[in-house]
Symmetry: C2
């Protein structure tokens, strides 16, 4: 069987000794971080006052991580590999930090944590300590592109990093806890989308240590052959290393890495010399070692090593329990620190020499600090891809399809650094012009009736929002660019992943050596208002609310109302850095309101008065009709049209909002309008009828500090949905043109009697539309062309 | 190999003919729903005006669903099975609706859609029609517990339905699109938690039809042996049926069902007679048939059947294209409706007879309308499980551990209808008393060092929030009760699943024959303020914001401040029906504020003035200190204490909020306070310093319509986090007692000069605490016991 490494013993005695010394050093430094305030080298007997008052951290996974790090270093040295490490069990922070200190990178980036006794003392003290560093493999850790707090995403991050990085090896440790999650299990098939000729290699390392916090790990408790069958079924060749005897495990692991890396080299050589792009059988390493290996075997009469009791801090009473203190000292000394560190406290030469040099260190690899290798996109001039607007509303166009034309040329101009990810919705979201330039990458079997499927495509589609998100994050974090296009409702599938990425962006803004990366761009089409085929389950605009909770400095939300504004917005997003940009756009044929020049100006302002649709002629309006989102904009303009025609004296101001963050005060968001600007646009005392794409509460939330807030009346999605016609959908939620007119009449005191007739006409029109729709199954002719009539307004 | 069904031909000629006729009838009714407005039985030649104006729906998956439904009906009849069907490809709505009409259930529940020609016409017309029914297998469809709009959750719903339902067979069709999602792949191992002696059986049916919207299905494009290896590795025995010749597929599928159901019977018999509870190798059926099978082969010169072009509506131009119209008529007539329906339009006897009788019909099985089989929980009197509060603040107790004592007895009293689901956090969330009564259910290998692991446990833990959520939903939807306990931050993993369940609850409130089910209860401990081991990645209180977007009638959010209020709250939640209850509680030792009687009263009111901590003595206060959440409550009481001691003349009112929805106007939420009540508590003009557990904006959002809103000043989580001490965390977010005092001084005009000294003292105290923490790694002694001093206040 390909998985046994029959008594392979590739290491000479001295190699084994060196690896083991390195491993012991990393373990020593790990335990030191968890426990010690001072006395880092145990130059004096351990006393209570050397111990931290709060013992925090995760020991259980750490010895395994240290072992893998040591062996990866050996392999990098032997083969001059360009490698990074994704640490799925990211709560093993002290382990990875220990290795980066041993390699010297840590001290280069944080000079006060020098590679000597004083630095070691700081290294220990700062860990999980107030004002120090977090307990996880966080953004502060050199070489990390992945904080492991929320489990499930290591392997997808690894694949995202490997895409279009042909020389890169991404080693990815997967904990057996994480391996239970759906997203991780869904990640194994990422190999269907990885082209050995054009992409880098991912080497997954499934680390079985048998336990989670208090439970066994499921994958360690099913028959081992079943586990291997799963991995083989997912297309891998597993190499298994199992044991609790250090020497044998060292030999087995070295053999496993040798075989796995030989496999990868052979796979890539074959693909790159023959040009044959088939899905190979990539290697995977399965390593079974005891949880908390080399830690205390038993504590207080209870087994700890090899059980879940080793998960966090195995000896938790050290400050008040002499026996614990003694056990801790014995544990620390079992690594023989005196052999590992020299008189100054630096790692001895034998250990330091195991680490690769310079950028070859995983902790210093530029790909793990993506901003340093980021190259700007070559962006064709989007202004030439727009629609020629002859008058507001003409012609109708499909915004995303027009955008697709530009994206096609973005793809062409950036074959090595730009990708579009989506769950089978690139075509459905009408971005299909991109297929003139590229295919969907797919390495599994291709058949005659497939369309736009190829081994080199820059589009990656799989029915998993998790994978799309995780791949794109990995791709961005290693210095490339991309867009995730999805149905609006289902982007909630990755809410928690967005949280974690937002946290990463927030934290890295404060880490000087981390360079800005390209923004994470969402293009949400097939939105709440146009789910003609699908109905209620597909109707949810709450993703905006979700991202607005994130730190203001990382979040941007755009609702371009038509084609030209969408183009301008996406160009802006693709040029931006270190943000999360959410763009919501229509895909159906719809009016085009602004010429390209107007669109550019409007997008630059973020919001503005549409004078051509307004009748206030610069004076104080009687009412403000505000709108955000393509469908609400259309309804608002139709309402304005009705008002213009039926209440010609009424001074209506139409305001459109593209950049939602403009509504917030400037104290809350960098895009926020000054209060004076806001008051100028929205007035301080006139009724504002705000037609919004999403849940109405968001507009209140963004504007509640504004002078005129009490007069802002918002219509939006109020969770009324089903499979029905587009106009019926807006009627169900009182967002339709007729209802907006009713709202104006109800809010402008002067109109209550004067416009009673019109109000009734609106009520009747709604009923007529509803009846027509119920009867004929389609929107009433009076609104089916969704047309605002520009003739009804005298342009100022 | 166990997977081949070598030329098995279990069906006699007449059986085969009957199955095929039933299948044709269901297919005919499916196509009719997608296309026809009138002329349902094609009594006259098809004309354009018989066709719906908007052609919406999903044909591609439907013939496969119809085939499976027919064969399941055969099996139910042969074996008198108690079976329900979970339809993963839930967009195949017309197929399932067709079957429920054939079975008669549809007409029983919707009498106007009778089983005759007029009813058939209504059946066709209403589908995906305004005012009609949705396009998916929605809550309106009899027999459904699963709307398939968002893909990934069918198999976990199926397992949840099977748990503690020993006689139930849950057949679960999984589409090959859905099968790509992480959550679905993570669901296969659900069999580790299913006890053949005590739980029902799940029969997964993986339906490969090869394509999604525009892409091939990955699992159909990896080598078939790899797919089977995955399924075997996950512990299943696959039976494969593949073909595009109806007769052979009928025979193969009948054989597959026979074999699979024999396996299940043998597994259950063995487990139930021997008492041997091991994880058996459950069967799974893999069915490969063409997408859009029996539909148009080619349209406009392009192949449709067997390709992704069959996904939605294969002939989309019927109303304007005579050739399409001709093809449609040919297609419909190919099913030979004249043989399938009698003169009245009812299914002929041969077809009707295939359907099971009464409750045996999958569409009428009471388990699929969980409220009908729901039995109340036997709830021990929670009042005897609380803590004896001698004076406010004493004693300290761990709220979740005390709750655990009550839950232990809830578990004991309800062995057949109550479960606790969690991702390995029941112990970590300190609910451990439950282990005195039960184990964690686990059917894979158990080892010596495992704790509280058993084959019959009522606790189910797996490191997958998706599974916990999906299992619990399935369990609730089939009429049982449960709680999902999770870290607060990671409950976002299931945001989108919560959306779908909330939609289900909302819609079913309007369906008279759907009976209310038990509420979906979340117990979120290990919350944002106490992530001592984990830091920033574990700090996110935004789930509340997420659920508040759902319809008010289904959402409840509770923040009990101490042990007794937690007990009272959970008792209420477990008695409630058809809600989503979010409960956020502390697990650390913390002050107990209210006696049980006070707690009950306080929880009943939802919010209230804590007079014993207030100094306004019923008069108008100078300031209101409001709080929600256990940590903010402690800081607020400590701030009140400081104010009482240092500004004895100041009239402070302390208000605690347990039921967050009380803050909303009564027009927005059924729990909302009347404005007059709100004004009485929060005043109309005094400053309110509101210390909140989550993001501050939520309090503004809930209260923005209140009279005094402009004076409400909220402190909460502002996305500042890391691994640090508990008090440092509240300081980082300006939620600490000292900052609350500063806020009071800054907001009460009279104090600005009078309390300048105190203000500076507070600034100094914060600095002192910060310095101490940075230096010693622990909270300063002055706050470590987190004690509010009741002696400082003269009780009124």
């Amino acid at each position: 069987m390909d998985t046994t490494l029959e008594a392979a013993a590739p290491l000479t005695g001295s190699e084994l000794a060196r690896l083991d010394a390195y491993w012991r050093a990393a373990n020593y430094l790990t335990v030191g971080q968890i426990y010690l305030m001072t006395n880092p080298l145990l130059r004096e007997p351990l006393r209570r006052e050397h111990i931290k008052p709060r013992l925090l951290g995760h020991w259980g996974t750490s010895p395994g991580l240290n072992l893998l790090y040591a062996h990866l270093n050996r392999a990098i040295g032997m083969r001059d590999l360009n490698a990074i490490l994704v640490t799925g069990p990211g709560h093993g922070g002290p382990a990875i930090v220990a290795n980066t200190w041993l390699e010297g990178t840590y001290s280069e980036l944080y000079p006060s944590v020098s590679r000597d006794e004083a630095g070691m003392a700081r290294l220990f003290r700062q860990f999980s300590f107030p004002g120090g560093i977090p307990s996880h493999v966080a953004a502060e850790v050199p070489g990390s592109i992945h904080e492991g707090g929320e489990l499930g995403y290591s392997l997808m991050h690894a694949y995202g990093a490997a895409f279009d990085n042909p020389d890169l090896l991404v080693a990815c440790v997967i904990g057996d806890g994480e391996a239970e999650t759906g997203p991780l299990q869904g990640s194994w098939l990422s190999n269907v989308f990885n082209n050995p000729a054009r992409d880098g290699a991912v080497l997954p390392i499934l680390h079985l240590n048998g336990y989670k916090i208090a439970n066994p790990a499921v994958l360690d408790r099913i028959p081992r052959e079943d586990l291997l069958a799963i991995l083989r079924g997912y297309g891998y060749r597993p190499y298994v290393v199992e044991g609790d005897q250090a020497e044998a495990v060292h030999q087995g692991l070295a053999a496993a890495f040798d075989r796995a890396l030989d496999d990868i080299a052979a796979i890539q050589r074959h693909a790159r010399t023959t040009g044959e792009a088939v899905r190979p059988r990539w290697p995977v390493i399965v390593m079974r070692t005891p949880k908390g290996w080399t830690g205390p075997k038993r504590v207080d009469g209870r087994q700890v090593e090899g059980t879940f009791h080793a998960h966090q801090v195995p000896l938790d009473g050290v400050r008040r329990n002499d026996e614990h203190l003694r056990q801790l000292e014995q544990w620390l000394r079992s690594y023989r620190p005196e052999e590992l560190f020299d008189a100054t406290g630096a790692p001895v030469e034998e250990i330091a020499a195991l680490a690769p040099r310079g950028d070859r260190r995983m902790s210093a690899n530029p790909h793990a600090n993506g901003g340093t290798v980021l190259r700007d996109l070559v962006l064709p001039d989007y202004r030439t891809y727009g629609v020629e607007v002859t008058r507001p509303g003409d012609p109708r166009s499909e915004a995303t399809r027009m955008l697709g034309g530009w994206l096609r040329d973005v793809i062409r101009a950036n074959p090595d650094r730009f990708r579009l990810f989506g769950p089978d919705e690139v075509a459905s979201n009408r971005l299909d012009p991109v297929f003139e330039a590229t295919d969907r990458r797919f390495l599994a079997e291709r058949r005659e009736n497939d369309e736009h499927l190829g081994v080199d495509g820059q589009i990656v589609e799989v029915l998993s929002e998790h994978l799309c998100e995780g791949w794109l994050e990995g791709y961005l974090l290693t210095g490339r660019h991309g867009i995730f296009t999805s149905y609006e409702a289902f982007i909630h599938v990755v809410d928690s992943m967005v949280n974690q990425h937002a946290k990463w962006l927030k934290v890295t803004r404060g880490i000087p050596w981390r360079r800005p990366i390209a923004s994470l761009n969402y293009l949400l089409s097939s939105h709440v208002w146009r789910q003609d085929h699908n109905g209620f389950s597909h109707q949810d605009p709450g993703f905006i609310d979700h991202v607005v909770n994130k730190r203001a400095e990382v979040v941007r939300v755009y609702l371009p109302p038509d084609t030209n504004t969408l183009l301008s917005t996406m160009d802006h997003c693709l040029r931006s850095r270190h943000y999360i940009n959410v763009v919501i756009a229509g895909k159906q044929p719809a009016p085009s309101w602004l010429t390209m020049d107007e669109a550019i100006l409007h997008c630059r302002r973020g919001l503005g008065i549409w004078e051509w649709a307004s009748t206030d002629e610069g004076a104080a309006p009687d009412v403000v009709l505000a709108c955000a989102g393509n469908v609400p904009t259309m309804e608002t303009l139709a309402a304005a049209d009705l008002l213009h025609r039926h209440l010609p004296g009424l001074k209506v101001r139409v305001v459109n909002v593209v950049d939602l963050m403009r509504l917030q005060p400037d104290s809350e968001h960098p895009h926020g309008l000054l209060d004076t600007q806001f008051d100028t646009v929205f007035t301080t005392d006139r009724p504002v009828i705000f037609a919004f794409h999403g849940y109405p509460s968001l507009i209140h939330r963004l504007t509640y500090r504004r002078t005129n807030h009490k007069n802002i009346h918002v219509r939006g999605y109020k969770e009324e949905g089903t499979t029905t016609t587009p106009f019926d959908m807006v009627m169900l939620n009182d967002l339709d043109r007729y209802h907006l007119v009713i709202d104006v009449i109800d809010r402008v005191p002067a109109l209550r009697t004067r416009a009673a007739h019109l109000r009734q006409a609106m009520v009747d029109a709604r009923q007529r539309c509803r009846d027509h729709t119920r009867r004929y199954g389609e929107d009433a002719p009076e609104i089916t062309d969704w047309r605002w009539d520009p003739e009804s307004v005298t342009n100022p």
